[in-house]
């Protein structure tokens, strides 16, 4: 395993249209700098995985892109515009599920960016909701309260709201941290399928490095508010770099063609520098 070489995705980038560009994005909370100059490019139809330890700035970057927090630097779409709710749909890490709100009503909130200040949803908006729910296999849940769903169902419902936004860029903040292995893969496969069929671009902040590598075309490793490595999963996931950033000895393996990141066996820990 070598350190990151020139990224293959970067080499191919000129052929693919850009979906989103971040240039020198800086976010400061009081005294602390959460993001210290992030440059990021997202190609149309690409899945970009954001990885990094807790507090590195993954969520902050997603929130800055969505426009939820003030930032310096530029976040721009291909046309040069700042993204709004019509362009990016954020799936929050811990969604708030209002007591008593039904799945259909919750998904309908996703039409909000398309509506004017005083506009009310039309039949067309409701039809979009209906077809997204059907698409995600949620039609029988339409009248169920969102606060009474299982983890996997909740995740699909939140995803449904994001898809109802019909935004070409989907931002996922730890989309599967609350799910078991099977549901996690089912949700991620679903997102991947939507991405391929609709040309949606995805930026997903993910904890599990192996899963991130499996689904992402490209990984960006964030540490203390900076992108420290970017490129193809295999080049970013270098054991020495990961061990340094996560402050724990890690080893990278390939099992059945997939990348697996494991903590180094305990007996070998004292041998590491």
């Amino acid at each position: 395993m070598t350190t990151a070489a020139a990224s293959p995705a970067g080499a191919a980038a000129p052929a693919v249209p850009e979906a989103l560009t971040c240039r020198d994005v800086r976010v400061t909370f009081r005294e602390t700098e959460a993001l210290r100059g992030v440059d990021l490019h997202l190609a149309a139809g690409e899945w970009l995985g954001l990885i990094g330890p807790n507090g590195a700035g993954k969520s902050t970057l997603l929130r800055a892109i969505t426009g939820l927090i003030d930032h310096h630097g530029t976040v721009a779409l291909a046309c040069g515009r700042r993204p709004s709710g019509v362009d990016v749909a954020l799936v929050p890490q811990i969604p708030i599920l209002p007591e008593g709100m039904t799945v259909a009503e919750y998904a309908l909130l996703g039409r909000s960016p398309h509506l004017g200040w005083l506009a009310v949803e039309s039949r067309r908006d409701r039809c979009i909701v209906a077809s997204v729910l059907e698409r995600l296999g949620l039609q029988s849940f339409a009248a169920r309260p969102v606060s009474h769903l299982s983890g996997g169902e909740t995740q699909r419902v939140v995803l449904a709201r994001a898809l109802v936004q019909q935004a070409p860029i989907l931002l996922l903040d730890e989309p599967t941290s609350a799910l078991d292995l099977g549901h996690r893969d089912a949700v991620l496969e679903l997102i991947d399928e939507l991405r391929r069929s609709d040309g949606i671009s995805v930026i997903a902040a993910m904890h599990d490095l192996g899963t991130a590598a499996r689904f992402a075309d490209r990984l960006a490793l964030i540490d203390r508010g900076r992108i420290v490595a970017e490129g193809a999963p295999r080049s970013v996931l270098a054991p020495a770099r990961l061990s340094a950033i996560y402050a724990t000895p890690l080893s990278v393996h390939t099992v059945d063609g997939e990348i697996v990141v494991l903590p180094a066996p305990r007996s070998r820990q004292e041998n590491l520098p």
Binding site: H114, C127, A130, L194
Partner: protein, 387 residues
């Protein structure tokens, strides 16, 4: 799932007919909004439950007739109905009421009935709006010191002997109105534009309410006994009318602020997912909150200025709608307006007939009727959730 596709995708090329097993449907074709059976189920989930809407309207109509025909001067049901229908354009009936009876109906009963409906609807709608804006089910017009401010203003006006009610505008009502607005403005100023944080504004409101209540109590102590009694009777809430004057004062506020609140009920639903997510959904939570609070406060202040402090309507009615019909503010706001109107009209009918010829303060009855009913609904709701 066959042929995975997102609605609105520009890649859609096939024009296969709708099938139930696949997603092959043009779902966002504005020309042909059509739906499969599954879609119908989803669409049904959006509709304002028609039964509830019809029920509220029927209740409102029934209460109106009851109120119009109940009272010291016994007006017969059929006569009242005939007279009212006769007043409709293009309809000619033989009015069977005497001129005096007609005067009672049109100058005493109906103004009071309409005022009760306007006040009830206003308070209930404002309560629903406050609950949505603060994401707090306990919020009601008493929050933000609206009522306390109005009370203080009224007491001051009485204290200065301005209760004579000459001219087109009642000085007490004006003072109550001003007091309510001062209280709301003070709450907002203390919160220093922290419209994004419901808790700050809520606490500022509580502080203002305490301050104005204390000032009101102090001012009340300075008044003479007769005046104190008058002020107290106003504070307890009453729906005294002199012809259509009060309706004329309150009506424009109800129309304007009611329309604003109705147009913002979608915002109240979006606000429920939290300010962050609301912002990611393209809403400006601070601005929505500001507009809704201003409209609800104006509405409350106008209602309080003509009717005094009528407790409980703004808190109970939205909750009943929520427990019986829907948690969505799209439903809660309009149904609360109807429900509040019917509730207060009914209660006021009781207030002026139960102890006739004396009159009970309507605010006392709202609490007497509302509290046990609210408890019952809560209890049933809790059991349904538990089951």
């Amino acid at each position: 799932m066959a042929s995975p596709r997102i609605p609105g995708s520009r890649r859609r090329t096939d024009t296969r007919p709708a099938t139930h097993e696949g997603g092959a449907r043009p779902p966002d074709d504005p020309e042909r909004p059509r739906a499969t059976g599954a879609d119908e189920a989803t669409l049904r989930a959006f509709r304002l439950p028609p039964l509830a809407a019809v029920g509220a309207l029927v209740a409102l109509a029934a209460v109106s007739l009851l109120s119009a025909t109940t009272g010291a001067a016994g007006l017969a049901f059929g006569d009242v109905l005939a007279t009212l229908v006769d007043r409709l354009p293009l309809v000619d009936m033989d009015p069977t009421l005497s001129a005096g009876q007609e005067g009672i109906l049109f100058q005493i009963r109906l103004p009071r009935l309409v005022l009760g409906m306007l006040v009830g609807g206003s308070l209930a709608m404002a309560g629903a709006a406050y609950q949505g804006v603060f994401r707090n089910p306990l919020a009601d017009p008493y929050l933000l010191g609206v009522s306390a401010g109005a009370g203080f203003g009224a007491v001051l006006a009485f204290g200065f002997g301005l209760d004579l009610g000459r001219g087109p505008f009642d000085a007490v009502a004006a003072a109550a109105f001003l007091g309510a607005l001062v209280a709301v403005a003070a709450s907002a100023t203390i919160a220093r534009g922290a419209w994004h944080s419901p808790a700050t504004l809520l606490l500022a409101g509580v502080a203002m309410a305490a301050l104005f209540s204390a000032a009101q109590t102090y001012a009340l102590g300075q008044l003479s006994e007769t005046r104190t009694r008058e002020v107290l009777s106003w504070l307890f809430g009453r729906l005294n009318t002199s012809g259509w004057r009060e309706v004329g004062i309150l009506g424009p506020y109800v129309l304007v602020c009611g329309a604003v609140l109705l147009l913002h009920r979608r915002h109240l639903d979006v606000l429920r997912v939290g300010d962050d997510e609301a912002r990611s959904l393209g809403l400006n939570p601070g601005r929505s909150r500001l507009v809704v609070i201003v409209a609800a406060s104006l509405l409350t202040a106008a209602a309080v200025s003509v009717s005094g402090l009528i407790a409980f309507v703004g808190l109970v009615v939205p909750h009943v709608v929520r427990l019986l019909v829907s948690h969505s503010y799209r439903v809660i706001v309009p149904l609360s307006a109807l429900g509040g109107a019917a509730f207060l009209a009914l209660v006021d009918t009781g207030a002026r007939t139960l102890t006739a010829p004396a009159e009970l303060p309507v605010g006392v009855i709202t609490a007497f009727v509302g509290a046990p009913f609210f408890a019952l609904v809560l209890w049933r709701g809790a059991r349904r959730v538990a089951a």
